[in-house]
Amino acid sequence: MMTDTLRIGQAVGAGLRRAMEDDPKVLLMGEDVGKLGGVFRVTDGLQKDFGEDRVIDTPLAESGILGTAIGLAIRGWRPVCEIQFNGFVYPAFDQIVCQLAKMHYRSQGTVPLPIVVRIPCGGGIGAVEHHSESPEAYFAHTAGLKVVSCSDSNDAYWMIQQAIASQDPVIFFEPLRRYQEKGEVDTSGSLDTAHPLLASKVEREGTDATVVAWGSMTKVAHDAATAAAEDGRSLEVINLRTLSPLDMGPVYESVKKTGRMVVVHEAPSNVGIGAEIAARVTQDCFYSLESPVLRVTGYDTPYPAARLEEDYLPDLDRVLDAVDRTFGY
């Protein structure tokens, strides 16, 4: 096994590089992705090596980025679009949910759109408004889109390549506040041997309760499991990874084993993905449950000013509290 230690942001960049080497039709497009290497430097150095034709600094217009990417894909290119920050994907929303998601269906399968939309997701970096949102539920609600979220370096590296290789449009969320965290990347594998793009993963085994998370919250879930272990409680941690389609198999198995479940996400709870998971688990694992599925989420308010975000974001204590409550029924 050949490994490399990379920050999550660098791992996405390395994955992009490899995808561009493997397939000359892969294009990167977005605001400031060229010379600057993106505001998070994820595309650093790629324009230098692949040229302005393949790493395209676009005009400042998100609807334009997605709309032209669709045209490029119809023409046979494989665009990877960068949305600079989560809160700026909305100007492109119409192109994503009305056009990108539906063209394959409308064309009776004759027009696939192999486009990846990369979106840095979530808060926790003290930014001003519109830079810290978690818009995943909007996209997961739309049929025709695959929605995934990486949360560590190895996944960042492989999932971005798998997303690019996919014939379907993929909304690819990156945990922005974890960009700087380092991890091992197994660079010797291949797209087929890496953990599949659309599969959730049991990352830590446990017997007493299941914690499901994705993106930046997987770290919180792991921290909670470590803390709970000190109190003699064994938590199983599942990294969901794919938000649409959901891969519920490992979740069901886990709940059947532990009987208790907590779902953690940064996005507000109302009509969030946690609600979907809770509903499915209730439906399919009802007789295994010792207590209701609980959610620990952001609140149903606009994302607050930076000095309040620590109160807003789910943290270790809120997760442990919820775990406690699942034992109180």
């Binding site: 400031d32 010379k35 005009p59 400042l60 930014a127 001003v128 519109h130 149903d300 308010t301 109160d311």
Partner: protein
């Protein structure tokens, strides 16, 4: 330099008397009344005659907003602000256009319009809550006639246009006391659908709105050539209204052109587009590293066109300001900055439950339930030093 539908009433031409006696000529590419060397020139269509005091006031405004802006950057570096968007280099565009506004006019800014804000006689601390992260920039924007800062690029151009349509519906156009609206945005924003749609609407409904684009040459790292292959001011003509390029480092020209455009709008003659040709001297924001995408030679070339230095030269040459005067303005600016610094540092953190305030104007059961849950959770840490 005026483009667009020439049959529509544009700004009135001035009498040509001043044109004859003005020996030096400005930059022919754009409206200029003060050359980079501080030479006072005239323009056949746009000119102003100001009193000595008015000249001095424009200078004073620019010096103070630059000083306040420097303080913003310093406060960010010291960890007092999360981020700061500097206006350095753009003082003339902002002060000139801002001072051209009448009291009743409404402003729709981006996040960089600290100079325009100053000209509205608004406490300069107002946007610091946003940049410090204690609030989302909330102030009573209708009272101040200065809307909240807008972070999503270009969104406010449509708001300005709708507001201007409302002004017309209210019958508040057609005379000197009419209301005009001004929308600020950058060269990058000119690519957004919202901005282009606002042009369509403004034209179709003959809205009393002035689009003031500060072309500071960059949208973060992207030079303006990534937004347009033609000069931005020319775009207006395709939408059916006049567009004009003004030297954005020339406070007099910025003032004159904006005043014409606003008067034009308030008299019912519809929208105008102004491209203030200027330069952002510093980083895009304090998180940006401009050395990755621009040459120092370019920055130096623009430094020689500095808006404050050229105004100072003009004041010196015409003996409107002497050394004592300039010193007194610098001192005053320092005082403002000191004041601001103390008050920014003293801005209190919001109380924890503030997350749940003002989600709706009426109570929401969901939000109230979450507030109760949060309060209980928060109370469980009391005394534990959390």
């Amino acid at each position: 330099m005026v483009n667009g539908d020439q049959n529509r009433a544009g700004p009135k031409k001035k009498a040509s008397t001043r044109r004859k006696k003005a020996a030096p000529t400005g930059d022919s590419e754009m409206v200029q009344l003060l050359t980079a060397d501080g030479e006072r020139v005239s323009h056949p269509e746009y000119d102003v005659s100001l009193t000595d005091q008015q000249y001095r006031d424009l200078y004073r405004d620019m010096v103070i907003v630059r000083r306040l802006d420097t303080e913003g950057t310093a406060l960010q570096r010291q960890g007092q602000l999360g981020i700061w968007a500097s206006l350095q280099g753009q003082e003339a565009a902002q002060i000139g256009s801002g001072r051209a506004l009448a009291k009743q006019d409404m402003v729709f800014p981006t996040y960089r319009e600290h100079g325009v804000l100053w000209t509205r006689d608004i406490d300069p601390i107002m946007p610091f809550g946003l940049f410090r992260g204690v609030d989302l920039g909330g102030w009573d924007s209708r009272k101040y006639k200065f809307q909240m800062y807008t972070i999503v690029i270009g969104a406010q151009a449509l708001h300005a246009t709708g507001y201007a349509m409302g002004v017309t519906k209210d019958g508040k156009v057609g005379g000197d006391d009419g209301e005009a609206v001004i929308a600020y945005f950058g060269d990058g924003a000119s690519s957004q659908g919202d901005v282009n749609e606002s042009f369509v609407w403004a034209n179709v409904y003959n809205a009393p709105v002035v689009f003031f684009c500060q072309n500071n040459q960059y949208a973060i790292s992207e030079p303006v050539i990534r937004q347009s292959r033609t000069p931005l001011y020319k775009r207006a003509s395709g939408f059916g209204f006049p567009g004009v390029r003004v030297d954005g480092n020339d406070v007099l020209a910025s003032y004159a052109v904006t005043k014409h455009a606003l008067d034009n709008a308030r008299h019912g003659n519809g929208p105008m587009f102004i491209e203030a040709y200027t330069y952002r001297m510093g980083a895009h924001t304090t998180t940006d590293d401009p050395t990755r995408y621009r040459e120092s030679g370019e920055v130096e070339a623009w430094r020689s066109k500095d808006p404050i230095a050229r105004m100072r030269t003009f004041l010196e040459r015409s003996t409107i300001g002497d050394a004592d005067y300039f010193q007194s303005i610098d001192d005053e600016a320092d005082q403002h900055a000191l004041d601001l610094r103390e008050r920014v540092i003293a801005l209190p953190d919001p109380v924890p439950g503030a997350i749940f305030e003002n989600v709706f104007s009426e109570a929401s059961p969901l939000v109230e339930a979450e507030r109760a849950e949060f309060t209980e959770y928060h109370a469980s840490f009391e005394g534990s030093g959390h």
